[in-house]
Symmetry: C2
Subunit: 348 residues, 2 copies
DNA sequence: ATTCACTTTGGAAACGATACCAACATGAGA
DNA sequence: TCTCATGTTGGTATCGTTTCCAAAGTGAAT
């Protein structure tokens, strides 16, 4: 039997060369090579050249793994996200990664598929990988295992549109959902709408809470009725919610939709019920959808700058990594009226 | 002056405990702790218990960084992508990450913003980080620095809808764009269309090449005219291309659009030129867009399963990592007719 | 009782870099 | 000429694991 695995050196005949070899070739000590490469001030011209020549001759590139172990910093951050295929989150990821990249950091991404226990697991995994910090857009704000994992990790954390009771103070970038919702509700009320529904996301997440709270407050101020249906970020939830709403004795004349996944279900249910927009019912959605301008009618939208939220999240994390105190930054939302909002139908 | 930085131990009073400390607490050698934790067969019951007790008492979790350095495997793969906010790519990323996660791998993501030099740079960076493999959806197939970086890295590579002349054979997951294009062209031809335009992506990428080649071949077979406008994956390109096409003496009666970013520009230009779909011009787009079913008219689409492409890419990489020979897997595309395709207008 | 195979454990050398410390050289000031 | 501060270099311990090797213990077979 010939042994299938030599199983001795992990990388037997690898092309990569180590600093030792560079040192030997340059005829200097490894520590000197390190000094040259890390830009230490007290290095003579001649040594620097000798080392640099050897480095370029061998095509040497330092091993970031060993560097991380020794320096105690991996120059890596973890992004814990429900689902990177959500355009909202992928734009945030783009903004964050671009900013982190510029600062020399790499970004690990993991999908929790809206399962809170996976959030916690991934946070622990990232901690074991010794990431320098975390960007969190977790799936539930009330999951104890997640909070425990964050506390135990003792890592710098930036929350992305989330609020969390953890021991350490953490930074956060928060969208001011209330602004856009309030503007939308005022607009709807001015058009005679008396019953407004919010087909909302999960109640244990800040965006949904913020939107619901604002809708309730503004509705009370304006003396109109509102109804909130919380649920998952899925088309199914949107569909069920609309079926429920339309079955009410006094169905709402306007619907605000809490996410683009939910929107798909809402539109399907409205189409199935043959409701015309905006003649029968007005529609406002949260977060831009790609072709909203080409829908008939165009979709009124409560927007925010996702890319910028990602950038800010990264900046806040870089701040924390440089030792600054945690802080919270807010990003506005903007209500953009469009053809999907019209006068309330004459009451029956 | 009090020194601001003690600058000695990287993590002065860290909560994390090392294997040494576990060993000491359990009263055994570090190597024994390692054996227990890595499930080595020859470990006595009593030793195993002593170690496990100490481990759980201290809440010890092994340091993956040190593990990686010693074992020579980081259990990390890098995904090089033009722009993670592109829904196509973010769905691939989701599929890939889900699959890799299940196999114990983490995924680093980096955005090249369609700049080939950044592709090369990021590949080198990932190599220095000692990732175990690469998933590549690079921005140009002809960029020498990228090819050099791949060759030098000597890493297992899976190309995602790309073809590349590298030294080592690499695996690839490729979409069969031709199937969908051919079906669409046949459909259009059967409706009387004689001049079909393809507003294409960059000519140095496989999807665009594949689509253009098929369009030309099928057009020749059917005896109809085709025109291809290559360009970047941007709305601007789509807008310019349509302006150009409509300014032709004999403008096309049908347009196939090569990506969802380009689509936005195409739709804008058609709206601006007041062309009705499908009465004046028929439209087919590649790759699903979220609300295509609610556009008026609904958009004919050439689809493929992005999530599955990501999954397959990850599986191919896992295969390579287990030592299997590289291979290529193909994913079909499907033409879905819809209201945006209609009979060719009566020729002028 | 001796040998041998086998299991179980500890010790120490790696993985590839960094940073401390000491040693040596250099030049200025006394 | 002798200090002393400063600049430059090499040697070595260290980051936290794994794994090889050897030593010790066990039991069976001779």
């Amino acid at each position: 039997m010939t042994p299938l695995k030599p199983a001795s050196a992990p990388r037997p005949s690898d092309s990569r060369s180590s600093m030792q070899e560079v040192a030997k070739r340059a005829g200097v000590a490894p520590s000197s090579v390190s000094r040259v490469l890390s830009g230490h001030p007290n290095v003579s011209e001649v040594l620097r050249n000798r080392v640099n020549d050897a480095v370029s001759a061998m095509g040497y590139e330092p091993d970031l793994l060993a560097q991380s172990l020794r320096r105690g910093a991996t120059m890596t951050v973890g992004f814990v996200v429900a689902n990177i295929s959500n355009p909202l989150l992928s734009e945030i990821a783009l903004g964050a990664e671009t900013c982190l990249q510029a600062a020399g950091y790499s970004m690990l991404v993991t999908n929790s598929m809206s399962e809170p226990e996976l959030d916690a697991e991934h946070i622990r995994l990232f901690a074991r990988r010794r990431v320098d910090g975390l960007l969190l857009s977790i799936s539930s704000e009330n999951w104890q295992a997640t909070i425990d994992a964050i506390n135990k990790s003792a890592l710098p954390v930036v929350l992305v549109d989330r609020e969390l009771k953890v021991n350490q103070p953490v930074s956060a970038v928060l969208a001011e959902h209330g602004i856009g919702i309030a503007d939308a509700v005022h607009h709807l009320a001015s058009l005679g709408h008396q019953r407004i529904a919010l087909v909302n996301g999960p109640a244990d997440l800040r965006p949904a809470r913020d939107r619901a709270a604002t809708l309730r407050r503004v509705s009370r101020q304006l003396g109109i009725t509102c109804i909130v249906r919380s649920g998952a970020f899925t088309a199914e939830h949107g569909e069920r919610a609309v079926e429920f709403l339309l079955a009410q004795p006094d169905p709402p004349t306007a619907i605000v939709v809490g996410s683009n996944q939910i929107l798909v279900g809402v539109l399907r249910a409205l189409r199935h019920a043959a409701r015309r927009i905006p003649e029968d019912i007005s529609l406002v959605t949260c977060d831009e959808v790609p072709l909203a301008e080409f829908l008939v009618p165009p979709l009124a939208t409560i927007e925010r700058d996702h890319f910028e939220m990602g950038t800010i999240a990264a900046q806040l994390l870089l701040e924390l990594l440089s030792g600054t105190k945690p802080r919270t930054k807010k990003v506005p939302t903007t209500y953009l009226p469009a053809g999907s909002v019209g006068p309330a139908p004459a009451s029956t």
